[in-house]
Symmetry: none
Subunit: 410 residues, 2 copies
C-alpha cells in the first residue's frame, strides 16, 4: 500500500523550520505496513496544493497532509480541500467543545476566528483534535483516502495515534511488518558493525537491519516483512538471542523506551531517592528525569554547580581538592557526588564535571573530557570519558553516559 | 526565479533520517532571491527520479538534487541523470585527486568502486567535491539548470557555498527577497491575529505575513519581494513601527535570535550574575542557558528544588510559608528567589514553582498553575501563570515565561 505525505507551509520552503513531521509519520506508517512513496513540501497556495494532490493521487492510494490549518489568513488548506472535494462547511460541536475547553483553561474568550476553526466540509469525516483548535479531516473517495492534519507536531502525533493509523488499518488490507529496535549506549556504529558482522550476514532475505546513530547512542532496528506478525516475532526472538550473546552488555533497552524512562521505573520500583550535582551538563540530566510524570517520588533535587564557589559552599567540595586536581577531575567529581547525597539526603547521587567547549580545553584535558561519579549506598564509582569537540554533543553524551552508569548500578 | 529541491533516498521515506538539508538550502537560496517552489523526497528508483524531474521542470527553472551519489548499488542518481540528459561517462582527474587524498589520510587503498566515483557524464560541468568522494554535477540546458550534489550535509554545504550559489547568481538575474521575523512571547496566535488584523490588511501586495507558533512563542514573519533590498527594508521599517505600536509589548526580539541568547548577551554586557531556583521546570532553564558557550561568566548555579525539604534546607524557604500557602504560591516562589540570590551570591535570581501535571492539580490550583519570581537588586517581582494541561508544554512555557520576565527587567 502506497502513501504520500504533503506538508503545506511557506515556513518550510524558506527554510525557517525543518520538517520533522514527515520522518515521524513515515516511521509510523512503515510500522503498519504502509510504504511512503514521496514526501512533498508545497506553499500556502491553493493552485499548488491542488496540483500536488493531483500528482500524488497518480502514485498512491493514501495521501496524508499536514499544515495550513491555523486560524490566520495565510492558512488556506481547509478552503482549498473543500473546493477540491466539494461540499459545504458544517459546524463540529465536538471540536468546538475542545476549543472552548482550551480557551477557558487559559482564561480566554473564544473569538469569532477561533469559532470558525470548528467548521469543516461535510464531504469529510471530522477527526476531533483533542490537543488543539483545528480538527483533522478524513476524505474517502472510492479510490483514495486523503487526510488533513494540523502541522503542530504534538497535535498531529496524537491525531495519528488515536485516529489516522487505526482507521487506515481498518480501511486497507495491510501486510505484516514487524520492527524490533535494540538501543545501545557506549559503543560506536562501526565497532558494533564489526562485532555483529557474521550475525548480520545470516539474516534471512525478508529481514533488514538498520543502524540508527545519534549523539550518545546507536539503535539497531530489524524490519521483517511477511504475512503473519506472530511468525515474524518468533523469528526475531531467536535472532535477538544471538545479538544479546554478542553485544548484550551495550543494549540498555528495546523499542521506544528511553534510558531515563528505564531508570525512572527502576527507582520507583526500588523506592530509593536520587539527587544530582551537575556541572558541564548544566541541568540537562535533571530536565530529562523531571520531564517524566512522577519523578518527584524519587528525585529530590539537583545542584547545578557551575562555579567552583558553589561546588565548595553548596556541595562541600574541598578547596584543596579543587586547587590540586582542578574542577574536572576524579577527586572533585567524587566529592560532588558524596556532597549531593549529603545535602539532599538521598540514596543515590550522580555528579558530572567536564569541559563542554568550545573553550576551556587544555593539552592534558581537552574539550570533551568529562568525569562522572556515582555515589550509591556503601560505594562510590567514578569514570572518565572523552567525547567530542562540539558543546551540544558533549552535553548530550555526558548526560546519557551518566544515566547509563546509574542504570548499570541499580 | 523558482527553484525546486529533490532529495533522493529511501532512508528519508522510511523515516530513518530527517531531511535537514532542504531547510538549509532553502534559506541560502532565499537569501539570494531564489524562491523554493517545492521540496520533494523520492526513492532510489530511476523511473521515480525521472518523473520527479519532469514535474519539477514544469514549475521551476532551477532544480537542486541531493543524495544517491554513494558508491553502493542502491545509489543510482548519477546513471539516472546520464540517461536523462544524455552523454557518456568521462573521468575527472581533479575529483580523483581528492579521492586519493582522502583515502591516504585514512591509510586506505582506493578500490575500483571508489575510483569510479570520479566518473561523471560529459553532458555536465564537474563541481569538484573537496570534502568527499562524489563530485557535484551542473547540467545547463537552454531552459533549466539542474544540479546534483551528495546528501552528506557538510559536503553539500561546501559545494553550495563554493560552487552552486555563485554560479546561480552569475547565470540568472535575481530579484531581491527580504525577510523580517518578529518574535513574540506571552500571547497566542489568534489573539495576535485579531489585534493586528487592520495592520495586516494594509500590507502591500508584494509582502506576505506568516504566523509561526511553537510552544510558548509565536513568530511573525514578513516576506517582501522586489527589485531592491534596501527599498524593501525601508518599507518594512515603516511597517514595523506600526506593528510595535500595536503589540510591541509582546515582541522580545527580531530575527533568528532566541530569548535565552538575548539574555545571555545582555547579562554578559551588564557584567552581573544570575542564579536559579527551579521546581516544576526541573533544570530546563539552567540547561537552556548553559547550552550557550560562555554562560559560566554570569551563570553561577541552579538549585533544582524538587522536594519541599530542599526548598527549606537549601534555599531557606520558611516551613511556615510552605505550610500556610503551599509550594505553588506567591510567598514560596518569592522566598525561593531571594534564597537563590543569597545561596549563590548572585545579583539576579529567578524562581519557578508550579504544577506541571498530569497529576497534582486541585480545583484552586489546577495543572498548569505556575508562579514565577524574579529577585533583582532592590526589588522582587512575582507573577502567576496558567498554562496547559500537558506536562511537556507546561515545562517549556514556564521556562520561556521565566526568561521573558527576566529579559523585561534587565
Amino acid at each position: 500500500m502506497n502513501c504520500e505525505i504533503i506538508t503545506i507551509g511557506d515556513e518550510i520552503l524558506i527554510g525557517q523550520i525543518v520538517d520533522t513531521n514527515s520522518a515521524w509519520m513515515a516511521a509510523e506508517l512503515n510500522a503498519i505496513g504502509i510504504w511512503v512513496q514521496q514526501i512533498s513540501s508545497v506553499s500556502d497556495d491553493a493552485a499548488h496544493i491542488a496540483k500536488a494532490l493531483d500528482e500524488a493521487k497518480q502514485r498512491a492510494e493514501i495521501i496524508l497532509i499536514t499544515g495550513g490549518l491555523g486560524p490566520t489568513k495565510d492558512d488556506i488548506t481547509k478552503a482549498t480541500l473543500m473546493r477540491y472535494f466539494g461540499g459545504t462547511m458544517q459546524f463540529s460541536e465536538e471540536q468546538f467543545a475542545v476549543i472552548e475547553r482550551i480557551f477557558s483553561s487559559y482564561g480566554r474568550i473564544v473569538t469569532e476566528i477561533n469559532r470558525r476553526q470548528a467548521e469543516i466540509p461535510d464531504s469529510c469525516i471530522c477527526l476531533v483534535n483533542q490537543n488543539g483548535t483545528a480538527p483533522g479531516m478524513w476524505f474517502d473517495t472510492a479510490t483514495h483516502v486523503i487526510v488533513s492534519m494540523p502541522g503542530v507536531p504534538y497535535e498531529m502525533k496524537e491525531l495519528m495515534r488515536s485516529e489516522v493509523l487505526p482507521r487506515l488499518q481498518n480501511r486497507f488490507t495491510l501486510p505484516a511488518i514487524v520492527h524490533r529496535t535494540f538501543r545501545t549506549q557506549g559503543v560506536g556504529e562501526s565497532m558494533l558493525a564489526e562485532w555483529i558482522s557474521d550475525w548480520e550476514d545470516q539474516l534471512p532475505a525478508h529481514m533488514k537491519l538498520a543502524y540508527l546513530p545519534s549523539p550518545g547512542e546507536v539503535k539497531l532496528r530489524i524490519t521483517a516483512k511477511g504475512t503473519n506478525a506472530e511468525t515474524l516475532n518468533r523469528e526475531i526472538d531467536l535472532l535477538a538471542e544471538g545479538l544479546y550473546a554478542l553485544i548484550g552488555k551495550y543494549i540498555y533497552g528495546e523499542g521506544e523506551v528511553k534510558l531515563e524512562q528505564l531508570i525512572h521505573a527502576k527507582l520507583l520500583e526500588m523506592g530509593v531517592t536520587l539527587s544530582l550535582a551537575e556541572s558541564c551538563t548544566g541541568g540537562t540530566i535533571a530536565s530529562m528525569l523531571t520531564a517524566l510524570p512522577g519523578a518527584s517520588r524519587y528525585f529530590t533535587g539537583s545542584l547545578v554547580a557551575y562555579s567552583n564557589k558553589v561546588k565548595v559552599n553548596s556541595l562541600g567540595v574541598s578547596p584543596d581538592t579543587l586547587k590540586h586536581f582542578g574542577a574536572v577531575s576524579e577527586q572533585t567529581v567524587r566529592e560532588m557526588a558524596i556532597g549531593a547525597n549529603r545535602v539532599f539526603k538521598t540514596d543515590y547521587a550522580i555528579a558530572v564535571s567536564g569541559i563542554a567547549g568550545p573553550d576551556g580545553g587544555t593539552a592534558e584535558k581537552p574539550v570533551g573530557t568529562v568525569w562522572i561519579s556515582l555515589a550509591k549506598p556503601n560505594a562510590v564509582l567514578t569514570k572518565q570519558f572523552r567525547f567530542s569537540t562540539n558543546r551540544e554533543r558533549n552535553i548530550r553524551m555526558a548526560s546519557l553516559a551518566a544515566l547509563k552508569l546509574l542504570s548499570e548500578n541499580l
